[in-house]
C-alpha cells in the first residue's frame, strides 16, 4: 500500500483587515485514504503581531496517510478567524488548497474569501460585526453548491509543506 507523509507548518496569514488572528484547519480525503497517525484537524494559537502585518502561527502539521487509490487526494481547508479584546470571534475568511502531490518542500499561498450578505447585512456588519458564515464547512473544499454564493476576497494564508511519498513508484505512479 502506498503511503503519504505531510510534514510542515501553517506559517501565518497576511492581508487581513484585523490583526488578532487564529486559524481552524482540517484535512479532508476520499474514501480510499486512511489516517495512520497525526491530527487531522486543529486550531492554531491567536497571534497579534508586534510590528509586522503578518500574523505568525508556525502551527506544525504531521500526518501519515496510507491509500489504496489516487482518488480523493488530501485537501487542506482553512478558516481564518479574528478574536477581539473581549474574546469574541469573527470569521474573516475561508480557503482551501490541495496537498502537493510531488515530493519535496513546497511553499503554498492559499487565498481566502468571505461570504457577502445583502447590502443591509453589510451595513449592519460595519457597525456590529459578525456576518454570514457557511452552515457546513464542506462548501469550502467542494464545488457542488458554490453557485449560490456571493463572496469577497480576503487575505492569504502561507503554508510550508514537505511531502514524502512511499511506494508510489512501485504501483507505477509518476510524481
Amino acid at each position: 500500500m502506498a503511503e503519504l507523509h505531510i510534514i510542515g507548518q501553517i506559517v501565518g496569514a497576511s492581508g487581513f483587515p484585523q490583526s488578532s488572528l487564529f486559524c481552524r484547519w482540517g484535512v479532508h480525503t476520499g474514501g480510499a485514504w486512511r489516517l495512520l497517525s497525526g491530527l487531522r484537524e486543529g486550531q492554531t494559537q491567536v497571534d497579534s503581531p508586534q510590528s509586522s502585518d503578518t500574523a505568525f502561527w508556525s502551527h506544525p502539521i504531521d500526518l501519515h496517510y496510507t491509500t489504496k487509490g489516487l482518488q480523493g487526494w488530501p485537501k487542506l481547508h482553512l478558516q481564518v478567524w479574528h478574536q477581539d479584546l473581549f474574546g469574541r470571534c469573527e470569521l474573516l475568511g475561508y480557503g482551501y488548497c490541495h496537498v502537493p502531490s510531488s515530493p519535496g518542500h513546497h511553499r503554498l499561498r492559499c487565498a481566502t474569501w468571505r461570504p457577502l450578505g445583502s447590502w443591509q447585512e453589510q451595513l449592519a456588519q460595519m457597525f456590529v460585526g459578525g456576518g454570514p458564515q457557511l452552515r457546513s464547512p464542506d462548501v469550502i473544499y467542494s464545488g457542488a453548491d458554490r453557485y449560490r454564493l456571493h463572496t469577497v476576497a480576503m487575505g492569504t494564508v502561507e503554508l510550508e509543506l514537505g511531502i514524502i511519498l512511499r511506494n508510489f513508484d512501485k504501483y507505477g505512479v509518476e510524481s
Binding site: 508556525s58 506544525p60 504531521d62
Partner: protein
C-alpha cells in the same frame, strides 16, 4: 556499510543557528532542543544547547549573530514525528531580569542538501492588563513551563501570543537508506545539482 534490506534510515543534521533579528531587544541568548516522535532515536550529537549572549552589531551589520553549531544524527523506522528544532530566545529586561523574548519551532528539512529557514518568534501574552503591569514590574513574564509545547499541535487554541522577531537557522541534511526503504523525499523536477555526464569530465 551497505545492507541489502535495511529496516531503519538515518537522518544527519549539520547546521547552525546563525542569528536573530529583533528590533527592540539586545544582549540575547538562545536555547535549542529537538522534539521528535516515538519512532525516532538520536544516535549521536547534542539534543539541546545554550548559546552565548550576543549584542547587536554596529555599522552595516544589523541583527545578532550566534553562529551556534548544530550537529545531531537520528535513526528512525517511520517519517512520522520528523524532528523539529525548538528555539527559545531570552534577554534582559529594563531591570536586568532574564525574560523570554520569543519561542519558535520549525521542522528539520526533509530532503538532503543545504536549506535556510527563518523562524518567526512569539511570546505568550498576559491575559489581563493588570497581569501585564505586574509582570513588567516583577520581571516574571508569562512563559511556557516546557518550550517543547511549541512543537505540538494540540492545546494551542487557548494561547494568545504576540509575534516579534525572527531567528535564522541553516541546515545541511544527509539521509541514508531512505530510498532503499521506498521513501521519496526530493522533487525530481526542481533545478538542483545535476550529476556530471561522462562528456563533461
Amino acid at each position: 556499510m551497505t545492507t541489502n534490506h535495511p529496516t531503519v534510515f538515518l537522518l544527519m543534521i549539520n547546521g547552525q543557528i546563525e542569528g536573530a533579528n529583533f528590533a527592540e531587544f539586545d544582549d540575547l541568548y538562545c536555547k535549542y532542543c529537538f522534539v521528535f516522535g516515538h519512532d525516532w532515536i538520536p544516535t549521536s550529537g547534542l539534543e539541546e544547547g545554550i548559546s552565548q549572549i550576543s549584542s547587536q552589531g554596529h555599522g552595516t551589520q544589523c541583527g545578532l549573530v550566534w553562529n551556534f553549531p548544530l550537529e545531531i544524527t537520528f535513526k528512525s523506522t517511520n517519517p512520522f514525528g520528523w524532528p523539529q528544532i525548538v528555539v527559545s530566545v531570552y534577554g534582559p529586561d529594563a531591570f536586568g531580569n532574564d525574560v523570554i523574548r520569543g519561542y519558535g519551532a520549525v521542522h528539520v528539512p526533509l530532503s538532503p542538501g543545504k536549506h535556510v529557514r527563518t523562524i518567526p518568534m512569539f511570546v505568550p501574552q498576559s491575559t489581563s492588563t493588570l497581569q501585564k503591569l505586574t509582570s513588567w514590574f516583577m520581571g516574571r513574564r508569562p512563559e511556557f513551563t516546557d518550550p517543547r509545547v511549541v512543537a505540538h499541535g494540540e492545546g494551542r487554541e487557548v494561547t494568545r501570543v504576540r509575534s516579534q522577531g525572527t531567528v535564522t537557522v541553516s541546515f545541511n541534511i544527509l539521509t541514508k537508506d531512505m530510498k532503499k526503504l521506498g521513501y521519496d523525499t526530493t522533487d525530481p523536477h526542481s533545478p538542483g545539482l545535476a550529476c556530471p555526464s561522462p562528456h563533461d569530465l
